[in-house]
Symmetry: C2
């Protein structure tokens, strides 16, 4: 009888269940116990229940992991009898016994957390072998070489993982033996030779750790269990969790399973398969296998594997046979399993299998990682196949991953200087400087340089460099190698298995045929074709089409939240509209001032001694700024455009380097001394909290007057030229007091009256404010109250985060890194809104503003507007819109639809509820 979850929670020692067995078509657990059994354990139990050929085994729960760490890395006493019982059950299922010298039971010991963390934690295979049982295995299998090879693999792996002995110790012994005996490959090592090598291995262990390699199988077993639990806290696992926002508290389960062997000769094989193509999403079986190999050989990318299907073989022009051809019966059984699993889990599965002596075993299944392109296609296909509902299809796509689609691709019409080709492991194109180490990648990226990480192969230790790189290129490995899986997960363009690539990292060069490139040289990689190009290729901006367009169309039907873009230039506005933005939520006018004509007038304005001087300079800026707005309004074709008045501290417009002072002062017609004095005058200790935002226009109302005039005159012109009414939203930044708003509102209203009188046009505009200070949130009712109060509010959550947390975005880097490392923060609050702090201020602001002005339009225009988790928050706050950078508009559209589905508030559900 399964214990109820409450019994598990009670932790009453005599009754509590720490071990869940799956064997002989029955299982204690199922996939609903994912939190307790980990993803792998839950799926193994589920598969066993489904009657699939799963090697019998059992799972030690994640609760044991939690207890292990809580009790100073010791395992609970009541675990032992449960493990012993479970081992017996496995033995009965496979007809062998743990430690039996005639019929020894061999097991694998693997990690398995709630979320997949590929390659991050430790695994031990072939456990159960010692000097006695190896002989029994040899006899029973009739293959002494297999038995000794398994034993030496076990010694190597166990010594490394449990005893912390370097791999190199064993590799040196093996290399030395081969050299002495004139052998060049491992396959030439015969049974007797392995025995000799094993003896040397055991001696080496004794000398490394001062005691013999454990021959006691129980010692082996408990050492392995503890080692797997311990591997939850390796630095690489911690880094992976931080990058993937996985809490440390989840812990891992341990799965112990009877070994099956893909390396029992040519009737055996091991492989990895997907039920659909994880790169394109096409409905075709997809995978790789190796004959006479253990599973790790495939994933490690050391041997290049064969493909599953004849179709795939033909498509890539492979020489060696497919599984379909080589083992037709096993292939047939395997595809039947594929269909059963996909129908059961209603998602594409990623399956590990082994064929032992023509018998198929399924080792693992899980929802397969996929490219975003594939995710979209699979979601759309499964919805049309009726396997999932349309709402589910929308929920299946990770909004964050859409970025992957939004990367540029190489212009197909541009000339290509291809120097190398590999496997197209993760789509999108990237262009950057060559770096040969993850550390170099990270350092260069931190300086704002764009790099391509070039490696022979990648390992979990390389993750930080892969994250920092714009793209990844490896010489070895297949489509399911570490580099490929990780790059797809990160959305980085990636090419793997570029066999012609030779890397000399020590000298900082790479060679591809006749081309030799150095670190720092520019290459372009095309993750869609596998081509590596010399130099910077011409790129093409992404387009929305196919499955992407279908999903986007579905999101627009579902979401209740409007999506606008932060766009300062006509170019940004164009991209934003192409990506489906429904307006501009933030146009930062200051970005318009940095071209050479405008900045000179701006500097004159700043350095003027009097209002007339400032007005003269502003008069020169007016027509330029008006032209910018005309273009913006025309591109947006009547969609709302929110324009923020000048916001940054004025010193940002003045030269900072002494070298520039001379030229700038000459251009301004003032002395260098005067310019220096003005710069000193504007210097601030904390410019973020200084003379900026509406404070500028409170001091110099003529700036607001010029900007209001430029906006409103542009509205008149654009409306006349286009025939479409233009309704600008003028936004006053950094308001803390209603009186600030009132003063600047009066300036704008008076300007509007003047423009109306001059042009004869009737202006339709709104005046609102950016809510970006805690005080503004608290005073939102006051700021909004009445007809002359703010007509719209836009939360500037970047600045609100800085003030609420007392943390300068410019200075937060090292602080936030440390805080995430030691677990104070799960996420960067500048990326994903701090719901319990900043979020509460937003909530206070929204409710107070709506209490006095129920229909007031409220949006958000911080970077958070493009973060899916924050978009969900904004939807829960019932905001009218989010505004984000143009490239994140599709992300926000999808996130908004998912938020609506989650809240059950989808506008007009596409879903025929299952």
């Amino acid at each position: 009888m399964k214990p109820s979850p409450s019994a598990i929670e009670r932790r009453d020692p005599p009754n509590r269940k720490l071990v869940y067995v799956f064997a002989g078509g029955r299982a204690d657990g199922d996939s609903s116990l994912r939190n307790l059994l980990g993803g792998k354990g839950a799926n193994l139990a589920e598969m066993a229940s489904l009657g699939l050929p799963v090697p019998p085994g059992f799972t030690i729960t994640t609760d044991v992991c939690t207890e292990y760490y809580a009790n100073g890395k010791t395992l609970p006493g009541d675990l032992k009898p449960q493990v012993e019982d479970a081992l017996s059950a496995i033995g009965i299922a496979v007809g062998s016994t743990f430690g039996d010298v005639d019929k020894p039971l061999l097991v694998s010991v693997r990690s398995g957390a709630r979320a997949s963390m590929p390659g991050m934690m430790d695994t031990i295979l072939n456990l159960g072998l010692n000097n006695a049982t190896v002989e029994g295995l040899a006899k029973r299998s009739g293959d002494a070489r297999f038995a000794y090879d398994s034993y030496r693999r076990f010694i190597q792996m166990y010594s490394n993982v449990v005893l912390d002995i370097d791999h190199g110790v064993f590799e040196d012994i093996l290399e030395n033996y081969k050299n002495l005996n004139g052998l060049s490959t491992d396959t030439e090592v015969d049974a007797e030779a392995w025995r000799v090598i094993i003896a040397q291995y055991l001696k080496a262990v004794q000398s490394e750790i001062g005691r013999p390699f454990p021959q006691d199988l129980n010692e082996q077993l408990w050492g392995a269990i503890a080692a797997v639990f311990s591997s939850w806290h390796t630095p690489r696992a911690i880094t992976y969790r931080r990058l993937n926002s996985i809490p440390d508290s989840w812990g891992t389960a341990v799965n112990i399973q009877a070994m099956v062997f893909g390396n029992l000769g040519n009737t055996s094989a091991t492989g990895v398969a997907f039920t659909r193509n994880p790169s394109t999403g096409a409905r075709q079986y997809y995978g790789e296998f190796l004959i006479n190999a253990q599973g790790e050989d495939v994933v490690a990318g050391i041997r290049t594997p064969q493909v599953l299907t004849e179709q795939a073989k033909q498509e890539i022009g492979a020489k060696r046979p497919s599984l379909e051809a080589a083992m037709p019966q096993a292939y047939k059984e395997l595809t039947a399993v594929f269909d059963k699993l996909e129908a059961h889990y209603r998602d594409m599965q990623d399956i590990e299998f082994t064929i032992q002596d023509n018998t198929l075993w399924i080792l693992q299944t899980r929802s397969g990682k996929r490219t975003t392109e594939a995710a979209l296609r699979i979601a759309i296909d499964m919805a049309s196949e009726g396997l999932i509902t349309p709402d589910e299809a929308v929920m299946r796509v990770d909004p964050e991953a859409l970025n992957q689609l939004l990367h540029p691709t190489i212009d197909p019409d541009a000339p290509r200087h291809v120097i190398l080709t590999g496997l197209p492991a993760s789509p999108g194109a990237a262009c950057g400087e060559i770096v040969f180490s993850p550390d170099d990648a990270e350092e260069a990226a931190s300086k704002g340089r764009t790099v391509i990480l070039v490696r022979t192969e990648t390992s979990p230790e390389d993750i930080h460099g892969m994250h920092a790189a714009a793209g990844i290129l490896t010489a070895r490995g297949g489509m399911t190698s570490h580099a490929a899986v990780v790059a797809r997960g990160m959305g980085r363009p990636c090419i793997v298995g570029a066999g012609a690539l030779r890397i000399d990292a020590a000298n900082g060069t790479m060679t591809a045929g006749t081309e030799t490139l150095r670190a720092g040289d520019i290459i372009t990689i095309d993750g869609g074709t596998g081509q590596v190009l010399k130099g910077a290729a011409k790129m093409r901006q992404p387009e929305m089409s196919g499955a992407f367009g279908q999903i986007m169309a579905m999101t627009d039907n579902l979401r209740t939240l409007g999506i606008r873009a932060n766009a300062d230039t006509p170019r940004d506005a164009k991209i934003a509209r192409d990506f489906g933005a429904e307006g501009i939520g933030l146009c930062r006018t200051e970005h318009m001032f940095f071209d050479s004509a405008k900045i000179l007038a701006m500097r004159e304005m700043i350095c003027a001694d009097s209002e007339p001087g400032r007005r003269a300079a502003l008069a020169r800026i007016l027509p330029m700024q008006r032209d910018d707005f005309v273009q913006l309004f025309e591109i947006m074709g009547g969609l709302p455009v929110t324009i923020r008045l000048l916001d940054p501290p004025l010193h940002e417009f003045l030269p900072q380097a002494e070298a520039e002072i001379g030229a700038v002062s000459a251009a301004l017609g003032i002395t260098a001394t005067k310019l220096r004095a003005r710069i000193a005058d504007l210097h601030e200790v904390n410019p973020m909290l200084g003379f900026r935002g509406c404070r500028l226009a409170i001091h110099y109302p003529e700036i607001a007057e010029m900007q209001a005039r430029a906006i409103l005159e542009a509205a008149v012109i654009a409306a006349k030229q286009s025939g479409t009414p233009v309704r600008p939203e003028i936004m006053i930044p950094l308001v803390a007091y209603r009186a600030e708003f009132d003063i600047l509102r009066a300036v704008i209203v008076n300007t509007a009256k003047a423009v109306e009188a001059e042009t004869g046009a009737k202006l339709d505009y709104q005046i609102g404010t950016m809510i970006e200070l805690p005080r503004a949130c608290l005073r939102a009712a006051d700021i909004s109250q009445g007809d002359e109060g703010a007509e719209f509010l836009s939360f500037g959550t970047n600045d609100l985060t800085q003030t609420c947390l007392g943390l300068s975005r410019d200075d937060a880097g090292p602080i936030l890194t440390r805080y995430q490392e030691i677990g104070i923060l799960e996420r960067d609050p500048f990326s994903s809104i701090d719901e319990s702090g900043v979020g509460e201020l937003v909530s206070i602001g929204v409710s107070r503003a709506r209490a006095v002005k129920p229909g007031i339009k409220i949006g958000i225009c911080g970077e958070h507007g493009g973060d899916p988790k924050s978009v969900d928050f904004c939807a829960r706050m019932d905001l009218d819109y989010v505004s984000c950078s143009p490239f994140r508009v599709p992300v926000a559209r999808l996130a908004a639809a998912q938020a609506a589905i989650r809240a059950g508030s989808a506008k007009k559900s596409n879903a025929a509820k299952a």
Copy 2:
């Protein structure tokens, strides 16, 4: 019938009352209508009701002022008939008629706001004179010279105030006439001569403004009324209101009153009196008068006046007779009025009077400004006289003014190099550089220099310089002159009427007898004795005694709020205890690091490459810091001491000037390059929002460990040495997340366990946090929750103001000045807590923390802790204590008692309720 207030508010034109008459022992208004009639108008009405000899008149309400500004400086149409009626009523009361050539009614036109603004607004006297009525006045008074003199004074005053003609125009004519006719003083100018001069004045007016001086008396009257309303908005009035926190919206009333003349020869006089001594508070009539003069002559300080009483005459050794001797009957009537008014108003009165031909007229009464010493004495005396209750006595003292008592005085035993003596106009001693202009005073003060403003006399235009100066010295004027009144109000030590002083401002020198001093030379002024000393005299710290001590003792019985001090050094701690602090609410440990021994070790710590390097440096700091704490604990003798862990950005400890780098790097034994690199490393864009507060110890827990050890070891030592238990409160700064608190709490708790193990002592300490970020206020429940949560909270309202308002204290100066000028802010939010923003965050924090931990100790340790208005806020928040700078402790004690009285929550009321 008086209209009800609601009728006034209704503003129904036909019924509304804009003019309030007082004449013949009856009055439309009374002192309860202060807001409508202004202080002067309400008191005139009240005095008239009391049957006092008030010249008949009427008041135009402050509502008319509001309407005047609302309607573009035009007066309401319905005012005219009411003014005409009121003028008739005055005429009837005095037996003359406005414009009657035989019996002309002359009136004064004066401002009068809700709060006193001495000398800030305009006044016109003798209105009603023209070329015709002056003859009537001459005939009726029998004194042609008096009539022409009055007329020429009127022309001068009216031309200046209403027609905006410079004084100099008339002064030049008069000087010229006297020179041509060999006259040296005005008294030598006879009636005929004044006629000639008047003709020249009238001609000058015509040429200045292009039209004649108005002979139409109604034009005169309405011009004067409008001018008085207009003077509400002169720059000097606006400045005064800003300094005194008087809202612009109050407006002024206009009082029009029959003229009485103190300048009708030797049976006439004019004077200013106080019912008690406004300098000491002694129960003695106090005042000054001038025979044959108009009121302005006394206040302007041009002639040095005579004293009221014989006693005062003897005390100051005056030569000229007292009023008591010169006009015994008028004196007797006057003192009867004093007694009646003081009994009626239950406060010391400041009274203006005129004696016209031996008849006493009371022109004005109001609560008199007084020194703080006097305020204390009067409050205590009146309470013991039974005139007011003890609670009222406590309410009578302005806490802010206590500063005046807390200034140092000159050590009586020190040698004094007295170079000059004047009138002791405002107590306390001050020492500083001589400056001769208010602008120089302001500029020097802004650079942190201490200055004494030395002027011939002061005027309202000088206020900004008086505010900036540490003390004020004038050559002319009496105890009620502008300089004296303003300096007392500001709490600045002041000496006036130092007749031997000669100032040559143009050459930047002053001469006192044989001594000539230059601008920048140091002098000391003793506002208690009137002595001016050359150089810096030895000062003595203030002591609490007499009335001060009595009031303070009363406050301690009343208040519920604890008062602590912010003290970083043993010296501060000593002062704080002497002033009655009940503990230290904030000890900023970083201030201990700046002496040369500690700063070197601190710099080594900062520049160390590794934790061992930091620990080595910290080990050298430990004993020094421990010694500081031992002293602090011993001084505080068992009172609570809150010690904050290191808070400021580390760069503050490193040299900033390139010149210092060499020496410092040599002292540290590192290269200049390395030191520069570390400085660059620690540079931040917004240090206020950067690597500081608990973030330091999160990165370098060894700092918190050392500080916790120093505090706890010191507690053991001090307890052992003194026999009094020491209970330190360790405060973690800048917490935003509970996890930050937990991590540092663990460091402190572990250190405490180690110290207990090493010393065998049982430690009693608390760990709390400073709440100084909006997020911390919002998360106060989370931060306080549970036994391992914060045990106390202290609101750091300085930083909370910076983050809530997004305003850097270091950069706020020009912004706040502007904001106060244009009325966005009434008060500097760094001086007086922003209740509706920052205050709400405090309120949220308090209620959330108490919801989860009802008994949690909560205080405030920002500068606001010493601001009376903010103390009142803290009392309303029901905080446990406020902590302020040592010198403000008495201010806080009094403010806390007043808050308790106001709230009706006084601990144990001294009051026998009236």
